[in-house]
Amino acid sequence: MELSDKLFYGLLAAGSLGALALCTLMGGAGGAAFALFAILVLAGSLLCIWERSVVRSAFCLIGTFGGTAGLFLLLGSDFLAMSQILIYVGGILALILFGVMLSPPDLTERKLPRVLSGLVAVGAGVAFVAAKVASTVNWVQAAELAEPEHATERIGVGFLAYDQYAIAFELAAIVLTVALVAAVYVARRRKIDLQDEGAQG
């Protein structure tokens, strides 16, 4: 393991523990749960950018997607959390891992200065915007909120009972059908290609 790797993992672990402690002090158990999922999300995507091999990056994305599902749970949307895990971790990540098979291992592709300057730019930009926003907006505090209602059934019913979502639901079905059929059509191997390979082999 190189020195830069050690430094990065150490800083990441220290930052995560610090954020966890800070949120626990500020928000008690709720703050700790939020910090856990937020750290999963951010550390997952940071590791995805950092890792050299595409396979490792793809697996680091599990943290991002799972942490997002946890944040949905904290926000009282259990149906969304379930579909997030099902579709992202089960579907999209599997697709990306399938694409990884195409990519020859290229461990020199990651350029450390590029990654570091990108991360620094992100840190500075987010800090600047956060400072601006925090000084102008008066956020609703969590204590003023009603308990989250669990909306599993209401979302299922909402698709069909309310007129406003029914059309969008049907449109989404058409889009999915067209997109998936088109994906299969685009990705198919043409007869000519197969004949070429037969001639070569």
Partner: protein, 105 residues
């Protein structure tokens, strides 16, 4: 935690997605960055829906519905993108966007 904390996480995730697209020279990182950006948008939708205090907002599902449609479209996008990557790899023997320069010649 309040709305501000969720928005901070979502903003950081969005920015990291942009970084993943910009700093890595591999089309798979572009896909992963897009997924991160869509996730950040979803967190925003659901958080604003949860912290909405307007009249009658307790029965309002708009934000969550938006998030569901984003997830649906992300699934469709991933499938199409992978098909395109397969074809690009077939044509150029590479998955680096910089090497797909057929129109330049």
């Amino acid at each position: 935690m309040g709305l501000g904390a969720y928005i901070a996480v979502s903003a950081a995730l969005f920015a990291l997605g942009i970084v993943a697209i910009l700093v890595r020279r591999n089309v798979l990182y572009v896909l992963m960055g897009i997924e991160m950006i869509l996730n950040a948008a979803n967190i925003n939708f659901v958080a604003f829906n949860r912290f909405n205090h307007a009249e009658g907002s307790q029965s309002n599902l708009d934000g969550r519905m938006f998030a569901i449609f984003v997830i649906i479209l992300a699934a469709a996008e991933a499938a199409v993108a992978l098909a395109i990557v397969l074809n690009v790899f077939h044509l150029f023997n590479s998955v680096k966007p910089a090497e797909a320069d057929l129109l330049r010649e």
